[in-house]
Assembly symmetry: D4
Homo-oligomer: 227 residues x 8
Amino acid sequence: MHGEIGFTDLGSARVDTARTRRTGVPEVVYAAAKTLAQTEAVLRELYAREGFALATRIPTTEDGALLMARLPEAVYDDGARALRCGRWPATGRRVAVVCAGTSDLPVAGEARFTLEAFGHDVVQRSDVGVAGIHRLLADFGAVAACEVVIVAAGMEGALPSVVAGLVQAPVIAVPTSVGYGVAAGGFAALHAMLASCAPGIAVVNIDNGFGAAALAHKMLGIGSRCA
Amino acid sequence: MHGEIGFTDLGSARVDTARTRRTGVPEVVYAAAKTLAQTEAVLRELYAREGFALATRIPTTEDGALLMARLPEAVYDDGARALRCGRWPATGRRVAVVCAGTSDLPVAGEARFTLEAFGHDVVQRSDVGVAGIHRLLADFGAVAACEVVIVAAGMEGALPSVVAGLVQAPVIAVPTSVGYGVAAGGFAALHAMLASCAPGIAVVNIDNGFGAAALAHKMLGIGSRCA
Amino acid sequence: MHGEIGFTDLGSARVDTARTRRTGVPEVVYAAAKTLAQTEAVLRELYAREGFALATRIPTTEDGALLMARLPEAVYDDGARALRCGRWPATGRRVAVVCAGTSDLPVAGEARFTLEAFGHDVVQRSDVGVAGIHRLLADFGAVAACEVVIVAAGMEGALPSVVAGLVQAPVIAVPTSVGYGVAAGGFAALHAMLASCAPGIAVVNIDNGFGAAALAHKMLGIGSRCA
Amino acid sequence: MHGEIGFTDLGSARVDTARTRRTGVPEVVYAAAKTLAQTEAVLRELYAREGFALATRIPTTEDGALLMARLPEAVYDDGARALRCGRWPATGRRVAVVCAGTSDLPVAGEARFTLEAFGHDVVQRSDVGVAGIHRLLADFGAVAACEVVIVAAGMEGALPSVVAGLVQAPVIAVPTSVGYGVAAGGFAALHAMLASCAPGIAVVNIDNGFGAAALAHKMLGIGSRCA
Amino acid sequence: MHGEIGFTDLGSARVDTARTRRTGVPEVVYAAAKTLAQTEAVLRELYAREGFALATRIPTTEDGALLMARLPEAVYDDGARALRCGRWPATGRRVAVVCAGTSDLPVAGEARFTLEAFGHDVVQRSDVGVAGIHRLLADFGAVAACEVVIVAAGMEGALPSVVAGLVQAPVIAVPTSVGYGVAAGGFAALHAMLASCAPGIAVVNIDNGFGAAALAHKMLGIGSRCA
Amino acid sequence: MHGEIGFTDLGSARVDTARTRRTGVPEVVYAAAKTLAQTEAVLRELYAREGFALATRIPTTEDGALLMARLPEAVYDDGARALRCGRWPATGRRVAVVCAGTSDLPVAGEARFTLEAFGHDVVQRSDVGVAGIHRLLADFGAVAACEVVIVAAGMEGALPSVVAGLVQAPVIAVPTSVGYGVAAGGFAALHAMLASCAPGIAVVNIDNGFGAAALAHKMLGIGSRCA
Amino acid sequence: MHGEIGFTDLGSARVDTARTRRTGVPEVVYAAAKTLAQTEAVLRELYAREGFALATRIPTTEDGALLMARLPEAVYDDGARALRCGRWPATGRRVAVVCAGTSDLPVAGEARFTLEAFGHDVVQRSDVGVAGIHRLLADFGAVAACEVVIVAAGMEGALPSVVAGLVQAPVIAVPTSVGYGVAAGGFAALHAMLASCAPGIAVVNIDNGFGAAALAHKMLGIGSRCA
Amino acid sequence: MHGEIGFTDLGSARVDTARTRRTGVPEVVYAAAKTLAQTEAVLRELYAREGFALATRIPTTEDGALLMARLPEAVYDDGARALRCGRWPATGRRVAVVCAGTSDLPVAGEARFTLEAFGHDVVQRSDVGVAGIHRLLADFGAVAACEVVIVAAGMEGALPSVVAGLVQAPVIAVPTSVGYGVAAGGFAALHAMLASCAPGIAVVNIDNGFGAAALAHKMLGIGSRCA
């Protein structure tokens, strides 16, 4: 096998403790389909090995509070539905997180929380969808100055196309499941983003704010390795 | 039954000769799935009764030429794949026909040809998609001054949302089947248009340039009746 | 940028306070995916700026009552699941709102409430589906005399095709999610409406009664501008 | 096993020679995915055993002519793309075959040809779709007097709902693949027919004119057995 | 218009009181998306006019009990989730209702209850799916002797094909939403039934036990009219 | 009919008591859509006839406890949501049950429980997905030595392809409904498994752990019969 | 890595020359999307290394003839659209290949040709679909005596369920793309097979006759290893 | 508007001549749905303005030859179906282009050709799919040393997940339309890539080799700007 390997066998989980060294991104706990005990055990193991652990999709606010009480250095963010133990050193790198509507905020929050846990700075803009695009353009300079731009949008998912036509930075598009009728579930936004006429847009799974942040982090690694 | 009725039975077709008086839009021949003889027969009957006839989706340029040779007052437009016998009196009303890419031109052409056959003026803009939205805005005043704006777009179908955020006029969105992968067939654009965050967009079937023009014509009827 | 711009930044929302002047339709609050506090804040800001505010898809009757108690000039309509603060001046224009079955009433109600908030008169017909089309035709004159006809239907969504074959006015078709099996979710009705053999039908998203009303309002603008 | 059984093994086909006695409908050759030799062999065997044989979906007019030349008592109908050897005795029973548009004629033709091969009389109406429903109602008495009504329609597939609201006879709905955009392939019509608000509609597969006729024939069997 | 017409306007419903005379099947209340008050009002009106009323998809057992207490001659059947006021005279006609698995019983029950309300006799077989087809064949004679055979099946929906290969009577196939994975929602069964290699199968919407019974009733009408 | 037949008629179920002798796999109770009383009755009958009975998809832990209390020799496994009465003799045959993530454990558990009830030994590995494939390879020898390998995976469902490229044994792939966005419901995993570039993978329905085990058991029958 | 590895790099292909030793099935050339030169080169390399090579989906009869002329020990089978160089020693093991209709023969042929190339005996039955199931049962003993049963079926795909209810051997179901309307492309058959109520059916991709044969071969390996 | 703007109006196209300065990627001609004359005109204009022009999806080899003959500095690559006029200066940056099967080469070629036109170096690996993953690992070092890794795969699309678990660089996944049955059209691969359990994968539209290259180029811009 290529790269560093290693894992801890917890019975129901084999924790990939070498993933950060191998891929630059640690194993992160997807808590939605795990018991609270399973989530806690994996977080504890990861933190013990690496001094850092992250969980997304904490099912309820109560679960978040419970985990925060039990785990060392834990910070739970209700808007992001995510929790971290520890934080990586500040990098001074800047990533924009833009979302089309107020309803996209939980997904944007997951991206922001992850980026900040990885040590990056975030420039956030909310509710700047294409029906009133002047709301985005009013103070666009700070967004355009970021090294990567994450754009979360549901419904027709048009915002990434517009943004990608205006910036040098790579755009990561996150479709959200916000909407009803043909937009329900996020497929209308997903397909719009994949079909965009603006070249060079990276698309991730519906509602995958964490994935967008992990991708942005890997992109920034290009810059840091070239230093 | 409500309204004026009447028809001519040609065997394989019952030509609805009272449709203009009843609904404001004449029966129009959808030639794609008809034999040339069937198309010619219905056009001839419509022209005889109303002094006007229109056919869309002429299968080939050769078919268009043949029909033009055989029918009175016939004009065939290859870019629109459509043919008319006669034309309604000029109304001086203005409709914009905007399309996102060069590949959407056949659909936009069908809309333009139909509107002109119905007597209206058309303001056309082509290849002004959202990846370089300044191409639309450069001379947008003439578009914004139209009473109705038709926007044809394939791929991610984002242009109608942007336009609808900028004008008073109702926007009619026509998804086109231009694109590949998730955009193939036009469903990505269709869903984006239906899910638009900009309120008040009228959507028609994929590639239905004629339907968009017929709808615009019925909208203009509101204005003329109120005069 | 084209047109009037301007917004208020409330943190989680950038309220597009110039949208009425720019597009003829105000920013309207889609309350389904917002917290009650977010909905209230945006309504308050819109009303302060324009003397009018509208919210649709209020999640519960209790939410509606709470908002009505807190906001100035607020009227909540349970059948429409919508709330308005203020009302635009009466126009005397008439729009028909027809629905195929009793189960389509909430969607039809959202359209009616929006139209009335915008100052228009509404002619309503309910439960007049095609299985007994004489129920529609019995007193059809008042419908046919309207300037725009909105038709909401679930299941097979055939009613707009029939109506569009009988009237001069543009028909706006609203598919509803009423039905089970192949009709569940509203796609059967949506596709039937888009594929209609009756030309000139405007289609909006599934259950989008507000969008139908906003489109009707923009259509009526054609008439008022031509005065 | 229940009922009469028996077959002839031709190698690539096991011809079910007892099917008529067992189910009332003979094995019929679906020629679309067979070689001409396979089609001819099965027809010859069926005719030898039962004095009657039927093939549908003959790929080309040339194939039809060739089979007609080689097989005894063969009649090929180009409009129906079908061929029969022999014909069952006349029954005097009447079935209506109604189609919405000229483009649905091949499917309606397959139904008509099959019914006539089975000995029944057919009352046919073409191009009587819902956009001008007066074309159907003008001479509807003969349709309403039939014992079974077959309705073929593509696009939005609304015609069966309207017909089923007007007649005592069972309605068999055949969706056709006529149309483009959301109607392409016939699923919009299929779903509309299954979701119909008019109770008691029998639906068959898209373009399955033969299946509609076979079902009508089995329905008529109820009447003949009760004699 | 063709046939007998007439209705009672209850505000939210226009009750089609002439439907039985026009089509042979009365207007039936689909209670799933109505308030209890709406359901009760329509049932009361139908019973007052015709001495008979039927409602399907009563949401809960409590609703059924309440309606039974309030309405004259009301009988509620919990297994069928349906209620009738009155019953049509016995006809002595026999319809088979066969279902593939125990889980299909509610749909089969709706069909049986409707048929019995219309005065017909029902021969029922349950849990006789194709994985052990001998369970169907063991006492198949009584099924084969029926004038119409209704077959309800979920999962792979294969039972109607097998039955239709064994009987003279028309087979009405009802796909049910029973199953998980690819079978969830009933589309696998629906498509299997429409694609059946056994000719002459009538298909109705997923879970539509009432529709199957209404169709069977209309089929039996062929026989009674020919008497 | 071929093979041994026989059944017990319990009214709502015809229990196929000869299925083991005919097909090697007993009738198993799918409890998800049955009442507790129905499940209990069928289990009791099966156990009385064969000394063995198995039920899957017990809706709740409470139901499992209740059935365990009432039925002879009953063992309920909460992780597998399954219950057995009795157990077949030990065979000494070994089947691997591998799952990609912790969230796939319930499906893997259903497979393991069924295999053990049928008398086989199970080698289990959990949380060894392709993002850290070294976790699988670390102790792969025991897996590779099994006669059949069952692989359960949700999300992108890539693990069966990788495993099938490494072992002689047939691989049975079970897609799970674990995931969100495009993975929700399990279709992404199902399609990936069917489209695998590694030949000879057997695929079963989404979440169908029991089916995978039944198939493995039938495969092992090949070996035992050849002994 | 686990198992034997090794490959030959031909530039556009890396031929996996160790696959037989590692997995029991050789790398097989899928010729549909390769140039004739690419197919020939890989076959030549495989044959040179292992004395055996197999290609499926040869695009045309001419391609097959050309390859047969150029390659050593080559046998091309037009009905199977496949070619082999060499053949593995006869095993005396028996696999049944059953298909529902004449149109499924190409897929069944691919399975038969592959099995014979691997040295196994094949018992074939064609055109024995469920509409006349007595055609299968007439001489079913030879099928039931096979160690594995492959069943290919298009349209409603019901045959595997019926067969799996009658035999001890594992059943491998191959959906075919035969059919029209809802059956077009093979998804109706695929879903029916995955949703089968008969436990223990292995499903492979649509039209994947080779995959079914490879799976059967791996299953037989269980028996041979246990000897 | 933000950023540099400007365009040339060619009638059917508005060439966005400022796109490189605004977004880092030039307007590129998608030739599939354009006439040869339209493609030539836009290329000529772009080359005149920027000294560089690129076209993808040239319909035929003949078209490529014709364009190469007519345009200055033109290089046509048949394997990539692409043409460039000029080339950007060499950057010395390295991008890996890995594809799963020989059939994915045209898509991989489009990515490679675009990257080389933009001045980057490409490390290519072909036919290294997961069924024999040792073919990838044999000389993986050169791939792992690249700054960005593009992975093209059809069928089950599993390769990007495996690669992303092994490298530090961001992985761009390109689903291809290679495959049949459930894989036809590329959706199985697309969904697998979006649902990947390996975090930080960027996905582009099906067959979009150019988009992958444009995204890689924008990612490399992060590194060059940080220098």
